[in-house]
């Protein structure tokens, strides 16, 4: 095994912290976060509610500035959102309800000023990739929860960014849809070779999806454990019934429990 040089890193944080002004003075949301994310990996960050997972993702997206520390994306700092490097898939209901599925997916491209025809072609092929062929002219309110999140993923992929950040994208879905979507996401990921940073508080989802799971503690959010998920790919639903899966899940759970 070779030591990873910083050239292989899609994302790197050094001593990242975030402090904000709350009603009762300063609140330390994140403390000393050090993560190296290798290019092409599927990273999952888990932690209890309010541990600052979303804050961390917002910083990676350039939507929020860290208080101290350094954050590099593809070797460069993220001072502001850069859709050429990073695509973000948000929590539920972030689609624009006044735009059709295709127009939602094409939105990042039209913001960039792409040719309309080309943007539409790209949107249609992204919709096909997420399994929504033929739904391009539907409005979000005409789609199910799972379909809406497929559109969100397609929108995140539209500009073909090397890094995809996902903030609890399946949290609002029912258990079955959630499992199917996780499986679908792995399929899409395997065809696009993106680096994915995925946030969730579902441990099963974390172990099922990830190459590596980073465990965060409750406020102030700190990284307390790192678990390499050595389960084979492509993963199938049966893998969840294996002893190894259960062990990995249990280890993460113990870490979270201890941190309370």
């Amino acid at each position: 095994m070779s030591v990873s040089s910083s050239a292989d890193l899609a994302l790197q944080t050094k001593g990242l912290s975030h402090i904000y002004q709350g009603v009762n003075g300063e609140v330390q949301a994140l403390s000393d976060i050090n993560i190296d994310v290798k290019a092409g990996k599927f990273i999952v960050i888990v932690g209890p509610s309010g541990c600052g997972k979303t804050s961390l993702l917002m910083m990676m997206a350039g939507l929020r500035r860290q208080t101290t520390g350094e954050l590099l994306c593809l070797g460069q700092p993220m001072h502001e959102p850069d859709p050429q490097r990073v695509g973000v898939v948000f929590q539920e209901a972030s689609l624009y309800p006044w735009l059709t599925a295709a127009d939602n997916v094409a939105f990042p491209l039209s913001i960039r000023g792409d040719d309309k025809q080309r943007a539409r072609q790209r949107a249609l092929s992204m919709l096909a990739l997420v399994g929504l062929e033929g739904f391009e002219n539907r409005y979000p309110h005409e789609l199910s929860g799972g379909m809406k999140q497929r559109v969100s993923i397609a929108r995140g992929l539209a500009q073909d960014p090397p890094v995809l950040l996902m903030d609890e994208p399946f949290a609002a879905l029912d258990e079955q849809t959630r499992m199917t979507m996780g499986h679908e996401l792995l399929r899409i990921w395997s065809t696009t070779s993106k680096t994915v940073v995925f946030i969730t508080h579902s441990l099963t989802e974390a172990v099922y999806l990830a190459d590596e799971v980073h465990v965060m503690s409750a406020r102030p959010g700190r990284l307390i454990d790192f678990v390499a998920i050595d389960l084979p790919r492509p993963r199938t639903y049966e893998i969840m019934a294996t002893e190894r899966f259960g062990m990995l899940r249990e280890r993460i759970w113990q870490q979270i429990r201890k941190s309370h």
């Binding site: 959102p81 695509g87 948000f90 972030s94 624009y96 309800p97 939105f107 913001i111 960039r112 979000p140």
Partner: protein
């Protein structure tokens, strides 16, 4: 199904005007209090030919439009400031809510003292009442834009003007049109009250005079005319509203 509803609506409308026409003629209601619909229509037709009435329509129309042209931008700017600025909102929002709850017509004598019985008095009073409605709706419009919508646009590198025109505007449009429609109802009412209370011109002035002089066909003709103008405006905005709010159905 839809066809039936339209047919029944039309029938109800015809029945209403039919009853209005027949009941006074047959002596079921006193025709000097409620003149038959046919007579009212022909009175209206005659009135529209009279220069005095034409002038009144122009005066009222001008008052309504000028008051509207003042109240919409003024109310919108104030509403957006209150919704967007935390401090200004925290200070003025409760105060504005207090004033909003007061019936505005009690201020009418003050407007007469300041502006005299004039065009300016009608415009100022109507703009005053309407601005509050616009202000409240505009603040609600801005607040209805979900934070995620803005976050998404920012994450794709949208500029401020792109966020304004591609996110705020389409997101607010259905509510904005509704606000304009409702503001016009208040605006029209403001002008009418001001005209009926004290004035020398305008449709409100004529209507008040016809009422006092017991000229019922003229009075009803005036009511009919105003109703038609108000409904026409309201409906044309509503058509736009429906066109831009199909996505709101859920």
């Amino acid at each position: 199904m839809n066809g039936w509803i339209y047919a029944i609506r039309l029938a109800a409308l015809l029945a209403f005007f039919g009853a209005w026409d027949f009941a006074p003629r047959l002596g079921i209601v006193n025709s000097s209090l409620l003149p038959p619909f046919g007579d009212v229509l022909s009175t209206l037709w005659g009135l529209l030919d009279r220069p005095k009435v034409q002038e009144a329509i122009l005066v009222t129309g001008a008052e309504v439009l000028v008051a509207f042209a003042i109240a919409i931008p003024l109310g919108t700017v104030l509403g957006v400031v209150i919704a967007e600025s935390q401090y200004i909102g925290a200070i003025f929002r409760p105060l504005l809510f207090y004033v909003f709850s007061i019936p505005k017509s009690i201020f009418l004598p003050m407007f007469i003292l300041v502006f005299g019985i004039s065009f300016a008095q009608k415009v100022a009073y109507a703009a005053f009442t309407t601005t509050f409605v616009v202000l409240m709706s505009a603040a609600a419009c801005v607040e209805s834009v979900k934070e995620e919508f803005i976050l998404v646009a920012r994450s794709y590198g949208a500029t401020r003007s792109q966020i304004l025109f591609r996110v705020y505007l389409p997101s607010m449009l259905p509510m904005l049109l509704e606000a304009i429609r409702i503001a016009m109802i208040f605006n029209f009412t403001g002008v009418m009250i001001a005209e009926m209370y004290a004035s020398r011109s305008g449709i409100g002035h004529l209507i008040a005079g016809w009422g006092e002089n017991f000229q019922m066909p003229q009075l009803f003709a005036g009511i009919l005319l105003l109703s038609l103008i108000a409904i026409a405006f309201n409906e044309s905005i509503r058509v736009l509203e429906e066109r831009y709010s199909t996505w709101r159905a859920s």
